[in-house]
Symmetry: C2
Subunit: 336 residues, 2 copies
Amino acid sequence: MVTIYDIAKKANVSAMTVSKVINNTGRISEQTRKRVKKVMEELNYIPNSNARSLVLQQTQILSLLITDITNPFYTSLARGAEDSAKKLGYRLLFGNSDEDYNKEQDYVDMILSTRVDGVLFAPAGDHSLKHLEKLRAHNIPFVIMDRAVPGIDSDIVSGDSKQGARNLVDYLINLGHRRIALVNGSLDVSTARLRYEGYAEALRLHGIELDDELVLHKSYREYNDEDQLSRLLEQPSPPTAIFAANNFLAVGVINALRKRGIRVPEDMSVVCFDDLDLSSALDPFLTVAAQPAYQFGAMGIQLLVERIQGSALPEARKVILPSELIIRSSAKTIGS
Amino acid sequence: MVTIYDIAKKANVSAMTVSKVINNTGRISEQTRKRVKKVMEELNYIPNSNARSLVLQQTQILSLLITDITNPFYTSLARGAEDSAKKLGYRLLFGNSDEDYNKEQDYVDMILSTRVDGVLFAPAGDHSLKHLEKLRAHNIPFVIMDRAVPGIDSDIVSGDSKQGARNLVDYLINLGHRRIALVNGSLDVSTARLRYEGYAEALRLHGIELDDELVLHKSYREYNDEDQLSRLLEQPSPPTAIFAANNFLAVGVINALRKRGIRVPEDMSVVCFDDLDLSSALDPFLTVAAQPAYQFGAMGIQLLVERIQGSALPEARKVILPSELIIRSSAKTIGS
DNA sequence: AATGATAGGGTTATCGATAACCCTAAATGT
DNA sequence: ACATTTAGGGTTATCGATAACCCTATCATT
C-alpha cells in the first residue's frame, strides 16, 4: 500500500507537506501543491483512514443498528439514513440485530471498538437498556429509532404508535366491528405497549369492553403460532376483525386464516401497522397505518450529527412522526 | 477512552503484558492474567480496532456492496452474508449503490480507505469494471455477486439466468402462448443479457420467431414507462404474456396493465425472475423463477474468506446456483 | 541597511496496539 | 557446583497520519 511517505519521497517534499495538501491546511505554494497531487494520482494513493482516525480521535463513521433487515420498514429507514449520512460526509456501518439481544450486544461491542462517531440505534426492546447505557458510559452519542427504552433519556425519532393504533381500531369500529382482536408484538417493546394502549383507548371511547381473550402478545417477527390463533378463533364469541401490530404479523395471521378457509375480508377483517411496500404496490390489499420510514432514518441521522457536532441543545429531543391511515380492502363492514 | 496503558498502570504491568493477555500470546502466569483481566473489566476496556488494524495490516472487516437495499433479493443475500461473516469472525460494512455507478465509485474509495480485508461486490453493471480493477490494483480480494462483469476473471456466485429464463418461457409456451414479450433490465447487466438469451433460446427451440418489437430494455429498478408499454400493447399483434426480468419490473408492469384495465392473468399472463418474499407470502400470486438469495450471500462470504486466508486454489471459482420455478397463478392457458 | 513580517515548508511527538527481541531469576541437568 | 533452560515479563520500534511548533529565505518597511 502506498503511504504518505511514498508520495513525499517521490515529490521531494516532507510527509507533512503531503498531509497539508490532502487536507488543504497550512501554507503550500500552488506549484508544490500541483506536484504533490500529481504524484498522488500517479501512485494511486488512498489515505489510510485507520491511521487518520487514530490521531484525529474520530472516524467519520456512523453506525446504524436495525432489528430486521428483511422488514421493509427498516430497509426504507436505512435508505433514509444512508442518503442523509452521505450528504453530511459520514460513512455508515450497518448492523442487523435480528431482534436478538445477544446479537445486539455483539454489535455494540463492535461499534465501540470501531470508535464510530455516533450510533443510530433501533433497539430490540426494553432490555436494550444496558446496551445503551454502555454506549453512554463510553460517551458515544446515539439517537434511538422507533422504540423508546424506559430508563434512557435521549434523542429519539419514533412514530405515533398510540394514535396510529387508535385510527385503525376506530376505523374498524366505524365499520361496525365490536369483537376486535389484537395480535401484538412482545410487551417489552414500547411500540407494542403503545399500540395496545391505542387499541384499548379506542375501544373504551366507543364503550366497548376490552376482552383480554382477544389480545395476543407474540414477537414482531414470528408470525405462526397456530395454537394461540386457534384459541382466539374458537371462542364462544370470536372476533370479526383483527388488528395486527405490524406488517409481518399481519401476513402471518392472514396466511393462518386462509389455511383454515377463513377469507379476508369476507369472513374476517384485518388491518395492521406498517405498510408492505412492494407487496402493496403489486396488490393494494392491506389497510394499514403507514409510517414514513425513510424520514425516520433521514431525521435520525440529522439529529445524530447535530449531537456529534455539538450544535444541538443539550436537552433530549423527541421527534414523533405521524402515521397515515391507508384504507384498502382487507377490512369491510361487518356482515356485508 | 481507556487504553491498554491505563490497564497496564493499574495492574502494575507493562502494556505489552496486557496485549499478551488480550491476544492470548506469549507467556503470562495465571495470576497476572487474572489480575489484568479484572482490571480490564473494572475499567470497561474496549480495544481500539483502528490502532490494531494499523499495526496488523488487517481489519477483520469485510465489505458488502449491493445495488438495492429495498429489493428482497439483496436483503436476503445480505442476511446470508451477515450470518456467514459473523460465524467466521468478520464484521460487515454494508454499502448500497442504488444501481448508480457514481455511488458505487464512492463506496469503492471508502472501502479502500477503510482497508477492509475483502469485498463482496454486487456490481451495478458492466461499467463496474473500472471499480473492480481498482480493487484489484490495490490487492483487495473480492468475490462478485450475481452479475458477471466482462473483463474480470474472479470468484463469482451467480444464478443461472439463462436456464431460469428458459424455464419461465418454456412454461408460458406450454400454456399455449406464442406472442411473449420480454421486459428486461439494461443490456449492460450480464443477467439481463442471459435472460434475453434464455428467452430467445426457448422461443427458437419451439420454432417461434423472435420479434424485437416484443422486447423492452429498461432498468431493473424503474418500473414505469407508460409510453414504451403502450407501444408494446398497441401492436397489430400484441403479446398474450409478459416475462419480466425481475421482481420490480413485474410489479411495475402489472400495475401499468391494471391501470389500463388489463387483468392478470385473465387478459395477460405475467411471470418474472426473483421472488417477492413478503408479498408472495401474503398472496401467492406471481409465478416466478426464485433464486436462493440467502445462499448467494453465505456462499459468497465463504469463498471470500477462503480467498483472504489463502486456503483457496488460485483459479477463479464460478459458483452457479440454480433457480426454482414456482408456479402460482399469474399466468394461465391462453384463451381460457 | 537593519528589522520585522511572511510565505513555504520541515521536525518531532503522538494516537493505541503489537512484533521482535531482550532481560532476569528460578528451575533443571549432569 | 556450574552451565543451561525456561518461565515470566519488559523495551523499543513500528504501523500511517496529523498537530504543534520550528526554521529559513525573501520581501516589505522605515
